[in-house]
Symmetry: C2
Subunit: 252 residues, 2 copies
């Protein structure tokens, strides 16, 4: 129970500049990713694209707040996003990091159950609740897609509960790095498959793993000392011995 009250800067402005047409290259690419992820017919895909609103958002800006009316869902194109919950005293749990191809903010209830902030500047597509519901109502396959996504998210959540409840600090870091690496490999451009970018701060990692910044940092240092990883820069990791890391992570 790290008790360190995440220091929140002025993230008040939920600003997000919609960038007009040109939903071309990257956008099509992202839909391909989504199509790759779950079976989506060409028809559903094009209808989805029709209601998508491309947008950009700066680093450390809020995408939406917890409890806010959920009037849209988002598909991340590029950049990184953190989804989190806060306790009244400021303790924070980052429930997930999102990257290109990840979908977030779909709420069946009227309100977001968590908050989301861009970590780096990010490009996204917004789907307004109205449009999405309308589309869902006459595209049963799309509803099926959402069910798949929700189920997959649930599986990830369970993985994370195991991590939070059962693992030691170094095990947590090992698991997290492997998870990031796998997610990164799926993202497409795997220049060096073992070199993984860490767009988020140590405090983000800590709040994701149920640790303090210091403990997260020490665990990384320890993994480096054991020769399992390298930290060429603070914001990137090289996984030198993925297999040993996986052992350490406890098969997770």
């Amino acid at each position: 129970m790290p008790h360190h009250a995440a220091v929140h800067q002025d993230l008040t402005s939920t600003a997000a500049a919609p960038c007009l047409p040109r939903k071309q290259q990257a956008w099509a690419l992202t839909c391909l990713e989504l199509a790759d992820y779950v079976p989506l017919g060409g028809d559903e895909l094009s209808r989805l694209m029709a209601i998508a609103q491309p947008m950009e958002i700066g680093g450390n800006r809020a995408l939406f707040l917890s409890g806010e009316a959920a009037d849209g869902a988002f598909l991340v194109i590029t950049g990184a996003v953190r989804a989190f919950r806060l306790l009244p005293d400021g303790r924070r749990m980052i429930t997930a990091f999102m990257f290109g191809g990840d979908f977030l903010g779909f709420a069946v209830g009227g309100r977001y159950e968590f908050a989301a902030e861009a970590i780096t500047p990010a490009r996204l597509c917004r789907f307004s609740r109205r449009h999405l519901n309308a589309l869902l109502d006459d595209c049963p396959r799309l509803r099926n897609t959402l069910l798949h996504l929700a189920t997959e998210e649930l599986r990830l959540a369970q993985d994370h509960m195991v991590l939070l409840g059962c693992k030691s600090a170094t095990e947590k870091l090992a698991s997290f790095l492997l998870h990031l690496a796998r997610r990164n490999a799926r993202g497409g451009t795997q220049a060096n498959p073992a070199l993984v970018p860490l767009p988020m701060a140590r405090s983000d990692i800590a709040d994701h793993l149920g640790l303090t910044t210091e403990t997260a940092s020490r665990a990384l240092t320890q993994l480096r000392a054991k020769g399992m990883i390298d930290l060429p820069t603070p914001r990137s990791v090289a996984l030198l011995r993925p297999h040993e890391l996986a052992m350490l992570a406890g098969g997770g």
Copy 2:
């Protein structure tokens, strides 16, 4: 990271005696609960009832194992069930407890992602994967219901991540007891709203909260010492000051 390798008895036999017709009173009642939980038209409800297979299972018996082919989903009628994951070395995370009205085991993939065991003897309804999928295919509203259920489960999972990552031992216990109490109140018979049965063992509670048995027990003792709860028997709790408990639990 409690490192205590849950001692597993012989839970090998996944035995489950199907009890024939008489899916009357309790069964209808449970469907009402489900109908109360999510909007379900009378048609969908009766078609669901048509494919339901009532069954019973003894205490501490496995309902299904992790990785097993997922050939059915279950609705708990009476009794308590634990859903959990194991690490190779035996560490266990109980991701959720299920009670009357809870639905579990629906997998879009072919395999269960977690294991489930009855805690107490339990009565359930089984829905075979084949039948359920067939029903889903021509009942779009039912698919919507499942999406609602998955979303709700996801919300609970996020709550639990906050608990596991952010809270102290006593805060965890306070949160857990309040959660149980609320769940119990919804169950129907609220004789004494403040007296909550604890069907699970201390080790189950510990493995759910990311603690050891001893710490869980001590935290309960501490709450009792503060006058917030009473333990008339080891398997039941009286919430004497729910409001103070909620304060302690951190608004969760």
